[in-house]
């Protein structure tokens, strides 16, 4: 490595070790993923965070706690394979109904998606309560409104969704490439290839929610399709 000499001549191994300790402590302290810009505020400008995180990640590889990239940041999580040993201590999280899980999957893979689009895919009206449960879980959010007749609300997933399912970004959804390749993420056959997008900014065909009307005052009865 060309940089080696440079690094060795920096404050030195002690400095590097100190930076490693800080990164470790900051991520460890937090229950939610910490992104690199937040980490950078604790370190001198110009610190090579990628290298520090790489070091830390390999230090924790194979341990009972791992450093993982999730929801656009870094977090310590118990090792997946220890689930059986840990589960007894923790109460099971609430199970999602089949309809809710299916709706969540459709929103995740097709976002931004309107209620009408979800119903078109499932071939059935969305039961009252299905979207509520997802909104309440914090995994789904109202993004804005589609610029189309009726200005229906568009739904998308949140950072909490990525965190919960251990995904670094929405592009890491399982089987995404396969589905995309088969054209199954399109709203209609022959439509342009689509990919799910969960960027916070609204897209060209979306507009802000605007003042909450009576329609969506409670997330339950928001069907504006």
């Amino acid at each position: 490595m060309a940089e080696r000499g440079t690094i060795a001549s920096l404050p030195g191994a002690a400095g590097l070790r100190e930076h490693l300790r800080i990164v470790e402590a900051v991520i460890f302290a937090s229950a939610v993923p910490v992104d690199t810009s937040a980490l950078a505020t604790h370190l001198p400008a110009g610190t090579d965070l990628t290298r520090l995180i790489g070091e830390l990640q390999s230090a924790y590889a194979g341990r009972g706690v791992n450093l993982v990239a999730v929801a656009g940041g870094w977090a310590f999580r118990t090792a997946e394979d220890l689930a059986p040993q840990l589960r007894r201590e923790q109460s099971e999280p609430r199970k999602l109904s089949r309809a809710a899980l299916e709706t969540l999957a459709i929103i995740a893979y097709h976002q931004p998606a309107t209620r009408a689009e979800i119903e078109e895919i499932r071939g059935v009206a969305t039961a009252k309560g299905t979207l509520d449960v997802l909104l309440e879980s914090g995994w789904v959010r109202m993004r804005g409104r589609r610029k189309s007749p009726g200005r229906p609300i568009t739904y998308g997933t949140t950072a909490a969704f990525l965190d919960h399912f251990g995904l670094e970004r929405i592009g890491d959804l399982p089987g995404l490439e396969e589905l995309k390749g088969a054209g199954l993420l399109d709203t209609l056959p022959q439509a342009a290839l689509a990919a799910p997008r969960d960027e916070p900014d609204l897209f060209d065909d979306e507009e802000p929610l605007g003042a909450l009307g009576e329609e969506e005052a409670a997330p339950a009865d928001e069907d504006v399709s």
Partner: protein, 281 residues
């Protein structure tokens, strides 16, 4: 309705614990074979779900499914349900009507092109919707199978909120600064105005001067004329007049001068009194 021999597939589809059995359920359904399906419609989530279940009985890839055969199966299912007088939701009937139309399109010679999509196109669209629904089912199952936070992996149980120190970021504009300077220079200017001492003729001064001047004049002389040289400064005129007049009254009382005035506001005359002469003013 339940595909027979499929205990946990469609029957509990509505709300109950779906996550774990989903893949098994799909597999079981596929393995179900062509046994008679009709028992009950409650297990299906709408006509598309029913169609998908029926399509699986064809034991072929959904891409190569016979839509015509599927339509026949669906219509047979609906016919059987009606014969048994089962309650059917309206959308199942709507789907049945549409499939009947599709069947006629597929069987009859193609209509003129302007008469809407052909039977094949409609069949393709239906096949696409079935494939897409199945794909999303699979996606949901894979999502559910991911290691989930709070079930399979756990975050730090006792997070340590990082302490925050607030550093004030002082703000002021150049206008604020300049206005503050100006306003307080302004105040300063007001508070330090020095009121110059007003020149006041004391009674003692006035008497001394009057004695000196009148002593030389025996004839009646107008007081203002007598004091003319002191009344030149307008700012002192009032005080000179008042003090001189008071002093003249004092001198008259002591018998040193005579004072005469012909009418109110008329000029006042004074003269030194001769020792023997009685006053006549």
């Amino acid at each position: 309705m339940t595909a027979t021999g499929d205990p946990d597939g469609a029957a509990d589809g509505l709300l109950a614990g779906w996550e774990a059995p989903v893949r098994d359920g799909l597999a079981a359904r596929e393995g179900d074979g062509a046994e008679a399906l009709i028992v009950d419609v409650d297990g299906f989530e709408g006509p598309l779900d029913l169609l998908l279940a029926l399509a699986r009985t064809q034991k072929v890839d959904l891409a190569r499914i016979s839509i015509l055969a599927l339509v026949e199966q669906y219509l047979a299912f609906i016919g059987e349900a009606r014969r048994l007088r089962l309650e059917l939701a309206a959308d199942y009937l709507v789907m049945a009507a549409w499939l009947t139309y599709l069947k006629s399109r597929l069987l009859l010679p193609p209509p003129p092109p302007e008469d809407g999509p052909s039977g094949e196109e409609l069949a393709d669209a239906l096949a696409f919707r079935l494939r897409r629904l199945e794909a999303m089912r699979g996606a949901a199952a894979r999502l559910a199978g991911l290691a989930r936070l709070g079930r399979d992996v756990f975050p730090r149980g006792a997070p340590e909120p990082l302490a925050t120190t607030t550093r004030p970021l002082w703000q002021a504009s150049l206008y604020d600064l300049v206005a503050a300077y100006a306003s307080q220079r302004q105040r300063h200017a007001v508070t330090t105005i020095r009121v110059s001492r007003r020149a006041v003729w004391s009674l003692v001064d006035a008497r001394a001067i009057l004695e000196r001047l009148v002593g030389k004049v025996a004839a009646w002389t107008e007081l203002d004329v007598l004091m003319a040289s002191y009344l030149a400064d307008p700012s002192e005129r009032t005080t000179v007049r008042a003090s001189t007049f008071t002093a003249s009254l004092e001198l008259a009382k002591e018998g040193l001068v005579d004072i005469a005035q012909t009418a109110a506001f008329a000029p006042i005359f004074v003269r030194a009194r001769a020792a023997a002469e009685p006053a006549d003013g």
